[in-house]
């Protein structure tokens, strides 16, 4: 059962997001609550990708926030094996979050989690969540390019993996 702290966190997050996001849907039940919205894809014009922030209780006195950003969808099944190899290589230089292939949705998500003490200030939690979203979008832009290059046929899986393994820049 979600406690009242999760409720005030959700309200603060919703208010903070509403300045940048046109439509937010709230879903959930007694054990968890999700905020669903969409942000612009950096890879395709007029394409949106889905964001899901789910709050649930994580033991007594803690709340878990799970961030799931669907970075790519409509992925052909024949690419699954190569994409798993690519994702394993691309995840190495990541600091925040990790890419996952979700076969049943034919999608690739970037996932991150955060645990808050239930008595943390609502406005601080909302600010932290907005900052995390910002970093996740940067991560998708910076490292999702490897996946996008493969999906659009610009590079082979081996080329993309070699590039990701040779990544020597500053990670996010």
């Amino acid at each position: 059962m979600l406690n009242e702290n999760a409720g005030r966190f959700l309200e603060a997050i919703g208010n903070a997001l509403s300045e940048n996001v046109s439509q937010i849907t709230v879903e959930g039940d007694e054990s968890s609550r999700s905020l669903l919205f969409e942000v612009a894809s950096p890879f395709e014009e007029n394409k949106l990708f889905g964001y899901d922030i789910t709050l649930s209780e994580a033991g007594v006195g803690f709340i878990l926030a799970e961030f799931m950003l669907i970075a790519f969808d409509g992925i052909p099944e024949e690419h699954f094996d190569e994409l798993q190899r690519i994702i394993t290589a691309v995840n190495v230089p990541l600091t925040l979050g990790g890419f996952n292939l979700i076969p049943e949705h034919r999608a690739i998500e970037l996932r991150q989690g955060m645990i808050y003490g239930a008595d943390a200030k609502s406005e601080d939690v909302a600010g932290n969540i907005l900052g995390t979203i910002d970093l996740m979008e940067d991560t998708v832009l910076m490292f999702g390019t490897y996946i996008d290059d493969f999906l659009k046929g610009r590079k082979t899986a081996d080329e993309v993996i070699a590039e990701a393994e040779g990544f020597g820049g500053d990670s996010l």
Binding site: A58, R85, T88, A89, T95, A120, G131, L172
Partner: protein
């Protein structure tokens, strides 16, 4: 490494000491860090957890917990690990497992943004995260131990007892 980063590491070390966890100053990538040693001789068990402070942007501070696990130079073992990781990662709410092919070691990584949390909230989040990270790495070590000893390979073993419950 600025004074504030060192202060964060000092606060974390003090917090850990208060709950009986020993950490020692270390260096990671040329930066100051904290190191926690896992007390196990098992080949697949986590070895150490390195805590570092990173700035992905000027006004953002991220605390990273990097647990090193199995180290191997055997290509076949690395390939087997790589085939297991996607499914393991799909079960996790926080952190992800990976293999650094160039160095031949497996790791578990989790990081979180600290701003604009106050010190108390940041330490609370760190403490909870460390508990989950440690338990996840230990559980993964147990799973790997079973998978890697499977005669017929990872695919045969993964359906027997395959679960990681973080929360």
């Amino acid at each position: 490494m600025n004074n504030n980063d060192q202060r964060i590491l000092d606060l974390i070390a003090e917090r850990l000491e208060n709950v009986g966890i020993y950490s020692e100053p270390a260096e990671y990538g040329g930066e100051a860090a904290l190191e926690l040693i896992f007390d196990s001789e098992d080949e697949f068990a986590p070895k150490e957890c390195t805590v570092t402070v990173i700035h992905p942007k000027d006004d953002m501070t991220v605390i990273q917990l990097l647990v090193t696990m199995l180290h191997t130079e055997d290509e076949e073992t690395v390939d087997k690990l790589c085939s297991l990781l996607p499914e393991l990662n799909s079960l996790l709410s926080i952190g992800s497992f990976g293999v650094m092919r160039s160095d031949g070691y497996m790791y578990y990584n989790y990081a979180f943004l600290t701003e604009p949390l106050d010190e108390g909230s940041m330490l609370e989040s760190f403490g909870a995260a460390l508990q989950v990270v440690s338990a996840t790495a230990i559980r993964c070590g147990e799973l790997l131990s079973g998978f890697m000893s499977e005669k017929d390979g990872a695919d045969e073993g993964r359906h027997d007892d395959y679960s990681i419950v973080q929360f």
